[in-house]
Symmetry: C2
Subunit: 835 residues, 2 copies
């Protein structure tokens, strides 16, 4: 594996093919490469030994457990061989993404043939012994996975869950104007929702500033046990569909009815040249100023599933059938007949013509491949960390909001973040993008539109109608969370930076995509040649507590729960309580590598608590005591710990602390705020985890802890169940009780409100006496009153809505009243603006 | 709301329109209805009082917080009005599904106008006071949500997350041959992945046995802050796309450039008649035996977003702009000018012509709507519980596998279940379907194909190629988990039964859809007129522990974690350890109502532990002691509890119990197996929860508990953290360490293997002495040996692979050896068959 980052510096991008006839010799090399790749693929699935069939095949040479997938592999090998030819001829930097990631043996075989594999894994040498090891390791204990995987050179795309190859491909192409991304869409995969909408990505490509995706719909006709839909509609219908998706489709069918392979190669090679020339022409027109949307070409490649395997086994059709999906010959050790079928199949590729006596690829065949990093398996874009440049980040401190005293000003946190992001965009014009499903403005990041636009290559009606839409821009918006996630993954894995802003509830749409990305990161961290990539940063706003325009259907804080199931070394979760902590947190996230950072922050006006210096210190610790909010004396343990995580819970906890301070002045309350949720976990479980000693010091081991939490309450229990004082912990959070349209009514419905927190404290601290009992009754009454009030007036009760932290300065004098009540009232008068 | 189930008994389905001209009077009624619905929609968003504008509008009449969405509403109202006309004329049972569920006020308005709303909610009377209440309750504390919701009569479709209207529509149409489902696809929603693939549902409809879906793509041009993609491609391209999806598209554009509303109505009414006549013709041809796939018509309806709202407000374009998405006039109380804009807008509908002096809908206008359950808001299909018939279930006991002694036989659990399901299908030929993404056979339910086929209306190549594919069948397979889930939801919500079989890892694809369905169920359980529907049953096979063909990317047991975040009254999770317990569990699931049942069960050959009588008893308890597996004496507490949940963990725990029994005969081991995971939770938290007393009796309060669990270990902690003995609990489960291709290697990688469980026990039981210390060392060595062996041979070490529970009969004599080792070896020889 090359580690050069400059090797692709000046490819002759987007050249038309030199004007010379395609020679039979070249096509013979293509066929030889294809046969070699097919041979090595079958070998990986079946063989333990006798790698070049230099002796008759015996059962001892065959693996005891046959695992892997043949069906899609010969088609993938066919394309790899043909692309090798065009890359070598045109010098066009090209990467190869395979939706049918089941074709793992094929991608490994090709990486081996072009030399990358042995450069990457020195034990897999380019000789017979290397081939033996290559075969043995495949889908074998201690070996490599059966799918395309992080271990596979040239891959940015896990061969697990299907549906994302085109969104990954376009993500890779953005801001890589000289890169061609050949993206094979399996016709099974094509049935998935995410894939079905990802064709529309072509309306988001800027032909001058972005690279080109060449989609190749591989119509091999069958899935596990069924035909595929797109292979069973009329060709006119299929071409209509591709045209409807905005493409110029080319249909190629080859390999059926015993068609001669040489003929198939010539026909396909000519088609590929036509298509690549068409792409070159589009690029040239765009460079000349044509800003119309191109109809980019795409190829429908119809070949038999399992092409070149034995057509019929045990009397049943296998080639060109779903029966070749996995292991066409399901046992080669049970009967002599089956063993001979396998041997015949392997020998049909004529390995003796393809490999030298030592087992190296025939030197003439080897000339088919391009050199160095133009090899698709060695293209540095597929090991994005090689190309990654640090972001140039403006000093977030300069974007701080003024906090004259705790809760002494109000901000919409995400709007403040947007101002900083505006400058991030200005300083990083070609390697940072923001992705979101039509929500960037709704999530109040709209300041970024001072510096950039939303990229859009469908019809434009002019700036009066289409605010901030342009052919090129740093913000990518399509109403598909799958697309946002897929684009961003492709963008990150090829060495750039980005973030995904989304409504909290709907980020579950990409739960499974997050899974795959987290698994990719987890594995790559233990593969030395995979260089670290930028973290995948979520900003979840429009969160569960403020769905004023929407309701129960928009309320779900469970993405955090989902995320923390993944390896601790990969995931980080932050709940900054105000604007300055959000700035500090996000700066940290954009600097990090190889993580998934989940940041949840509200967009509604809410009080600021910490100055920037305090925010930096607090975020660095990840959690800590807010002394100004509590009422502890310095020497003893407090009577109770009031803890919180999340902006709304922090506000309610502070209001509760205020009530306690005023009404029960002798009660010693410790106030703890948590920004970095992983701090709660054991140090042995998570790198950010607090030691037991620190945890016990902070939360005590014996005193009640009332914890107001943003999400489902049991997550806090899960993170802390091993702590000494866990039995004293009482968590309030979201309880799946939803649908109300005023903020305080919502927190009351979930018992997370200030009054209930006060009740929780009183119920848990022993011996508080009659004053506390009376306060408890007042809290009960206050809740009833507040509930009644909203039902009458449609607004929250003013004493709650306009509550402010008492203005007690350092001198202890009372302030002049609710400094920001006007702002609060103004902000809520027209409701929130969730969509 | 009618509760008749027979009211729709004999609609004149699929009639062509009577051959008479469309009168101006009728169209005037359509327009009046539309104005009335628009008026009531605006009123809901804005007004607290003065509902019929009988006095000048003042700020006191206007809501203090303006919430809701206007943009899509007039288009939805337009369609409702026009469909009213055609239903009344044709007597065609029709339901109306709206993808743009944001149009909540519109659907409520129409249900109010046709009388359903007042029949359902008696306090919302058909007079001025009723209208006042209707307005006030909308998106108001204590009122109704702003979206289409379970509270909305006529809805089966939550207006939350977008993307599922077509899959819901087709689900509703299956097995309802006389039902028309008008399904409005928002052009925002159309960008989502699930929606983009759901157009292909038309290839799964049987024109004779299923109903008809009429998709109406509502091209209103804008999302929250952007144009929509499909409104910004050429019309030719859009029509190509719809043809490519297999439809016959009709494009209608109306309401632009000041087009007279009467003209728009006439044009659209004529188009709708053309389309409905075309559907009638297709139905007639199909009934006459034409089995070609029809190109069902669909409509592209292009109207201005926010149609009929003030075109310009504060100098900015609002109508026909994204600015009308939500509340076009964002404040009506701040200035007199805004108040007058609102009043002018409201008065533009001329409510005085539409409502009587009492506030009832003008009787002539009211004649537009059909009567009784033909009203779309009252159609009983939208309250599926009304139509639900119990399944006729064969006695699952008759499908029991023989278990001469614990672990005395082997089965593939799901294959056994398939035999029972075959009979379920035979007995319920029109109200039970199985959904799955191309995995029904892979999950080993293939016995069902003795009784039915996979329904498929794309091209068929004949039974030799296309096994078990037919125009009609009870199994629905498309490679889209979104489609499977959406179809099933639509099928269940209209009063039928079904199940979804899926690979465990990829069920996360529909996490967010599960969320919305669970929320729907949670709300409907508290709406008396919503009758219970059949539970949504998952069968998750090809689970985390046996991904032999695949690997890390296919390993995720976290769906259980996701599910248990939802309301306890809705969710059930079962982990049957063998075939008979799976049968008993699934029988229970198919009888249940209003739940989401998650059943995880393996498909690989594995030992049977319980006879059917024992299985029924065990499943009824949900968890219990397996005395035969433990080594307790009767009187005292055991020394240790060895607990397990899930088939693979149960096998490993039993093997560990066997080792302990043999090697440490004095150790008193209690063996507990858990089928119903919710039993672990507190009785206060979940209806299935064990009381503390029962839990403590079972697990003890003082003895170590080593728990082998199928999924992420912390879920067990989360469920049990309040139990007295929780600190003694030690859980082994999946740790996100994956990729190995032999079963035992996989469990070793996660420390869930028998040897490690023995080590766990030894490490936790005090004072075991030197024999235990020596055993511990042997266990360490055994793991090293087993790991080495798989790396050498590619198979699990025989003593593990062929391990059997010792054949100790009631007389205590040793048996004759591994009765099923041959079967085990045979089953693993060719690997598993995950795809």
């Amino acid at each position: 594996m090359s580690t050069q980052t400059t090797g692709t510096a000046a490819p002759a991008a987007w050249a038309r093919r030199p004007d010379e006839a395609l020679s039979d010799e070249t096509l013979t090399r293509v066929d030889a490469w294809w046969r070699a790749a097919n041979y090595l693929s079958v070998g990986q699935i079946y063989l333990l030994d006798n790698p070049l069939l230099r002796e008759p095949l015996t059962t001892e040479h065959v693996k005891p457990r046959l695992l892997g997938h043949w069906g899609t592999t010969p088609g993938l090998n066919f394309l790899y061989a043909h692309l090798n030819r065009t890359i070598a001829e045109r010098g066009q930097s090209t990467i190869y993404l395979t939706g049918p990631g089941h074709g793992g043996p094929g991608l490994v075989a090709n990486a081996y043939l072009d030399g990358t594999y042995s450069e990457t894994y020195s034990d897999i040498t380019t000789d017979a012994e290397g081939i033996r090891r290559l075969f043995r390791q495949f889908s074998f204990p201690g070996g490599i996975p059966s799918h395309v995987a992080p271990e596979t050179p040239g891959s940015i795309h896990e061969g697990g869950e299907l549906g994302y190859v085109l969104s990954h491909a376009y993500g890779a192409a953005f801001d890589n104007p000289d890169l061609l991304v050949a993206a094979v869409v399996g016709d099974g995969e094509a049935e998935t929702g995410p894939l079905a909408t990802s064709w529309h990505s072509n309306k988001f490509v800027d032909p001058t500033r972005d690279g080109v995706v060449l989609p190749i719909l591989h119509l091999n006709g069958y899935k596990i046990a069924n035909p595929t839909l797109l292979a069973r509609i009329g060709e006119d219908e299929l071409l209509d569909l591709m045209r409807g998706y905005g493409h110029h489709p080319y249909l190629f069918s080859g390999g059926f009815d015993g068609e001669d392979h040489a003929a198939v190669h010539r026909r396909f090679a000519e088609l590929l040249d036509t298509v690549l020339d068409e792409i070159a022409d589009i690029k040239a027109r765009a460079a000349a100023g044509d800003d119309s949307r191109p109809r980019w070409p795409m190829i429908v490649l119809r070949t038999p599933k399992g092409w070149t395997c034995p057509p019929v086994i045990d009397g049943k059709q296998v080639e060109n059938s779903w029966r070749s999906h996995q292991v066409p010959l399901s046992s080669a050790r049970d009967t002599e007949e089956h063993l001979r079928v396998l041997e015949g199949w392997l020998r049909s590729y004529r390995a003796e013509e393809l490999f030298t006596a030592d087992g190296a690829l025939d030197p003439d065949v080897a000339t088919l491949a391009p050199a160095g990093p133009l090899r698709m398996s060695d293209n540095p874009h597929t090991n994005g960390g090689l190309l990654l440049r640090d972001l140039r980040l403006p000093d977030f401190r300069e974007f701080a909001v003024d906090v004259p005293r705790p809760a002494g000003s109000m901000s919409e946190s995400t709007r403040v973040l947007g101002q900083w992001l505006t400058e991030v965009i200005r300083r990083n014009p070609d390697n940072f993008r923001i992705f979101g499903p039509d929500e960037t403005a709704s999530n109040r990041l709209q300041a970024v539109f001072e510096a950039t636009d939303k990229q859009w290559n469908a019809e434009l009606l002019g700036p009066e109608v289409d605010e901030h839409l342009a052919r090129a821009g740093r913000v990518m918006e399509m109403l598909s969370e799958h697309q946002c996630q897929g684009w961003l993954e492709g963008y990150l894995l090829t060495g750039r930076h980005g973030m995904f802003n989304c409504y909290e509830a709907f980020i579950h749409i990409i739960d499974s995509m997050f899974n795959q990305h987290a698994k990719w990161l987890k594995v790559t961290r233990h593969i030395p040649w995979r260089r670290p990539v930028a973290s995948l940063n979520y900003l979840l706003s429009s969160h569960v507590w403020r769905q004023d325009h929407n309701g129960f259907s928009h309320q779900d804080p469970g993405f955090i729960d989902h995320v923390v199931n993944k390896k601790a070394e990969i995931v980080r979760v932050y709940l900054p309580p105000d604007a300055n902590t959000l700035l500090s947190t996000y700066d940290h996230c954009l600097r990090s590598r190889d993580y998934v950072n989940v940041v949840v922050a509200g967009k509604q006006p809410s009080p600021n608590f910490l100055t920037m210096d305090e925010a930096v210190a607090h975020c660095t610790r990840g959690l800590g005591i807010w002394e100004w909010a509590g009422s502890e004396t310095t020497d003893d343990d407090p009577d109770v710990v009031l803890a919180c995580a999340g902006d709304v819970p922090t506000l309610e906890a502070l209001a509760a602390a205020d009530i306690l301070k005023r009404e029960l002045p002798d009660l010693r309350v410790r106030f703890v705020n948590v920004v970095d949720l992983m701090r709660l976990q054991d140090a042995a479980e998570h790198p950010h985890g607090l030691s037991d000693r620190d945890f016990d010091t902070l939360f005590t081991t014996t005193k009640p802890v009332v914890f107001a939490y943003h999400g489902y309450p049991w997550l806090i229990h899960r993170l802390t169940y091993r702590r000494t004082g866990h039995a004293n912990l009482h968590v309030r959070g979201y309880k799946e009780e939803g649908t109300t349209t005023t903020p305080f009514d919502m927190v009351m419905l979930n018992d997370l409100d200030r009054f209930h927190l006060v009740i929780d404290v009183i119920d848990r601290v022993p011996h508080l006496g009659s004053r506390a009992a009376r306060l408890r009754q007042r809290m009960v009454d206050a809740r009833i009153h507040a509930r009644e009030y909203t039902r009458l007036h449609g607004e929250d009760v003013p004493e709650v809505r306009d509550w402010v932290w008492p203005d007690v300065g350092e001198t202890g004098t009372e302030g002049s009243g609710p400094a920001y009540s006007g702002q609060t009232a103004g902000a809520t008068a027209t409701g929130g603006d969730n969509e």
